[in-house]
């Protein structure tokens, strides 16, 4: 038995080394970006990073520390704020929402700003921090799950920004233990096995995709309404436009409108065709379709203002 175990261990050890070499040479694993907590307690990425997202493509973090290409100019700006759907590491940077919008000839520059797992309140905090750029509009790509995730009374989640409605206290997201994570990520083969086999995460960059996890769960509309009321008091919402995904609960959309938010809902008869085959995130095609509808909305807005 001893000999058997020795052989087995040696075989596995050599196998791990071979695996590590193959994964690194063929860029089969996923590179993880570096981040920090900024002065506003928001998790931000270090600027100018690039990394592999498996063998198919690379993710890019621009000079402002945001996923995707930076806008050509900061003039006549619209921000594109969201969670993993907008961070969009599962698609190449060419397929990012801000990139598609900038190609549609709306006359605006689009500034992407997103973090996987961001709640509605985190997006509002981001919007607040981007006010210094004087954006014309701040587009927040949301789903009712982002509102649920924002309230500590519904469920405490230390990995996103939340609001405690009772006390009015903002609880900022805690970055996961950097050192341990970094150590795991450095063993690319182990990480490759972990992602592809152990937890079946596939290409999904957002392990805690609240849109999937919250499917079919009951929504506490009273708390969501309280959140919207409180948000209206705390933040400047005049230039905020909530872009609701097609599968958002209609009651939540209705509440947002009643609380003074500008909004519109994306429409499709075939939402599946927008999504990736094994993932609920939008594919390149989905992002294109979304961008077309958003561009049309922006066009209508500019026409309605004399």
């Amino acid at each position: 038995m001893k000999k058997f175990l020795q052989s087995l261990l040696l075989f596995c050890a050599i196998g791990i080394v071979i695996g590590e070499i193959i994964v690194r040479v063929f860029s089969l694993s996923i590179d993880v970006h570096q981040f920090y907590l900024d002065k506003d307690h928001l998790i931000k990425n270090y600027p100018n990073q690039m990394g592999h997202m498996g063998p198919t493509h690379q993710w890019v973090i621009n000079k402002y520390g945001e996923f995707g290409y930076e806008p050509q100019s900061l003039e006549n700006l619209i921000t594109v704020i969201g969670d993993s759907y907008i961070a969009n590491t599962m698609n190449p940077p060419e397929c990012h929402q801000a990139n598609y919008l900038s190609q549609l000839g709306t006359g605006y520059n689009f500034y992407p700003s997103a973090r996987a797992g961001a709640s509605f309140i985190e997006m509002m905090e981001k919007a607040k921090s981007l006010e210094s750029l004087h954006p014309k509009y701040q587009l927040l790509y949301v789903h009712h799950g982002d509102f649920i995730e924002s309230v500590t009374e519904i469920k405490r989640n230390p990995f996103t920004v939340q609001l405690t409605l009772k006390t009015g206290e903002i609880k900022y997201a805690k970055p996961t233990s950097g050192k341990v994570k970094e150590a795991i990520y450095n063993f690319k083969f182990i990480y490759f096995l972990y992602r592809n086999y152990l937890f079946k995460l596939g290409n999904n960059d957002d392990a805690t995709n609240n849109r999937v996890l919250l499917k079919g769960k009951k929504i506490d509309y009273n708390l969501i309404n309280e959140l919207l009321v409180e948000t209206g008091k705390r933040y400047r919402i005049q230039n905020i436009v909530l872009v609701f995904s097609p599968d958002t609960d209609p009651k939540v959309i209705d509440m947002a409108g009643k609380n003074g938010f500008h909004y519109f809902q994306l429409q499709t008869d075939d939402y599946k065709s927008w999504q990736m085959p094994k993932d609920s995130h939008w594919s390149c095609y989905g992002h294109q379709e979304v961008a077309k509808q958003v561009a049309q909305y922006l066009q209508q807005q500019s026409e309605s203002i004399p």
Partner: protein, 481 residues
């Protein structure tokens, strides 16, 4: 829990270490562990059907004892038929009820009577055909005084439920497996290494060969235009892909089962012996799903008179065996026609008594076959390919449509589906299987001639191929039986 799943990759080492390090003091402890592990393994599919398995186990254990203790022939017969009736009853209800109800309704509809049969909306308990046949062989052997009943319930339960063979065989015999369960097992280094090697080869067959052939076989067989737009050559490709899919799938499963059992010091019955290198259909059936073929031979063919009667008796018995064998695979006319077609194939050798002409391995001791052997192997292979079309088709109509479009002028055109990478892979696989055809499985002993570095390199290449070609976990075809 599939053999090709991450959960099994976690489950197996845990049971292995518990078996040899925690429960190693006595084979009784090891048997209790194996039984718990097997029940957990089965419950991972559907825990509700665990009770069916337990009931079947208790029934056969109890009737086995009762038959042995019976003072009169009548009482012995009573317990025997009780067990046979209940076992076949369960199989009939879960596997065949809907088929008979629907066929009966269709038959009446043809006579002008419209009825709407009540059908069962239940899923087929995984492995029911296999563990029922385990139990039946045990009960029949006791009835005919071939074996004594097993008095230890745990040992008997392990015989029925041992997890490597529980869901898709091999169909074991009490005379072969029970003595192994009832003796001390000592860890054997060579056996354990051989077990791991066989598991690796089984995974390769399943994940690399079967699952990749399945992609193209499914693409062609699932054609929505009823094959009208596909060329004969493309349909031939589809049938050949399915031929390798089912072999890679089922023999791969059997290799993993045998290898896994060997890690626990237990040898299971061999289930495959390179059937696609057979020189006639009789040889094919001695090499394909051996544990089922021999089960039918011992418990059906021989009791029916076997080959002892005249030509007519032999022909009748052969047809019965193949009919039942087809029906065993599933409640669908496609399986029945598949069985009957094989009976027709084998008939000339039964009539002319040439069915035992090829008891050795083709081109034994040589690298290359003779022209005659090559021709025989190719012809047998093509006949098998044709029969698999019935096995794979959704219904009889589709099977005939497939065959009629296959034998068209476009049979000699360039196929529209021609994945070169998979074709090279299959050719490489056939070469390795050919080189190892005189062994229990292709890799057995083959690498022993090479230095360790070469051997290990071969294993790593196989593992890399498994990772590279592996996609979603695919179920094994024989789980549905």
């Amino acid at each position: 829990m599939l053999f090709n799943s991450v959960s099994f990759a976690i489950f197996l080492p845990i049971v292995f270490f518990a078996y040899w390090f925690v429960a190693q003091k006595s084979y009784r402890h090891q048997n209790v562990l194996l039984l718990l592990a097997s029940y957990f393994f089965y419950a991972c599919w559907d825990w509700r059907f665990l009770f069916l398995l337990m009931f079947s186990t208790v029934l056969d254990y109890f009737t086995g004892l009762k038959m042995s203790d019976s003072q009169t022939i009548a009482r012995k017969k009573f317990w025997f038929w009780l067990s046979i009736g209940v076992n076949l009853g369960f199989l009939g209800v879960f596997k065949y009820y809907n088929f008979f109800a629907q066929s009966f309704a269709d038959g009446l509809a043809n006579l002008g009577f419209e009825i709407h049969p009540w059908t069962l909306n239940v899923i087929l308990p995984v492995g029911i055909s296999f563990y029922t046949f385990h139990g039946l062989s045990y009960v029949i052997d006791i009835y005919y005084d071939r074996i004594k009943p097993e008095r230890n319930f745990v040992d008997y339960s392990v015989f029925v439920s041992f997890f490597p063979l529980l869901v898709a065989g091999p169909i074991e015999r009490a005379t072969h497996l029970l003595p192994q369960i009832k003796r001390e097992r000592v860890f054997d280094l060579d056996r354990a290494k051989d077990g791991l090697r066989q598991i690796l080869w089984g995974l390769f067959k399943k994940i690399v060969i079967a699952d990749n052939c399945a992609r193209y076989a499914n693409m062609i067989f699932n054609d929505t235009a009823d094959y009208a737009t596909l060329s004969g050559s493309t349909l031939l490709m589809g049938a050949v892909f399915f031929t390798f899919q089912i072999y890679g799938d089922f023999s791969g499963y059997s290799d993993i089962a045998l290898g896994t059992a060997r890690l626990f010091g237990i040898d299971l019955l061999k289930n495959f012996a390179f059937p696609y290198f057979s020189r006639d259909i009789a040889e094919f059936w001695r090499r394909w799903h051996i544990s089922l073929s021999t089960w039918f031979r011992d418990y059906l063919y021989i009791p029916l008179g076997g080959s002892k009667g005249g030509t007519w008796i032999r022909v009748r018995n052969t047809f019965i065996i193949f009919l039942v064998s087809g029906f065993w695979h599933g409640a669908n006319w496609t399986f029945i026609v598949w069985g009957l077609l094989n009976a027709l194939y084998i008939m000339p050798s039964i009539v002319f008594k040439t069915n035992r002409n090829h008891l050795d391995v083709v081109a034994q001791g040589h690298y290359f076959p003779t022209v005659k052997e090559l021709f025989s192997v190719i012809l047998t292979f093509l006949l098998t390919v044709l029969a698999w079309i019935f096995f794979r088709a959704d219904n009889i109509g589709k099977a005939f449509s497939y065959i009629s479009h296959l034998f068209s002028s476009s049979l000699f055109s360039k196929p529209t589906v021609f994945p070169l990478d998979i074709i090279y892979l299959v050719i490489g696989f056939v070469v390795v299987e050919w080189l190892g055809r005189e062994r229990h499985y292709a890799l057995e002993g083959l690498p022993m001639k090479c230095p360790k570095v070469m051997r290990w390199s071969l294993y790593y290449v196989l593992i890399i191929a498994i990772f590279y070609f592996g996609g979603e976990e695919q179920e094994f075809i024989y789980f549905q039986f």
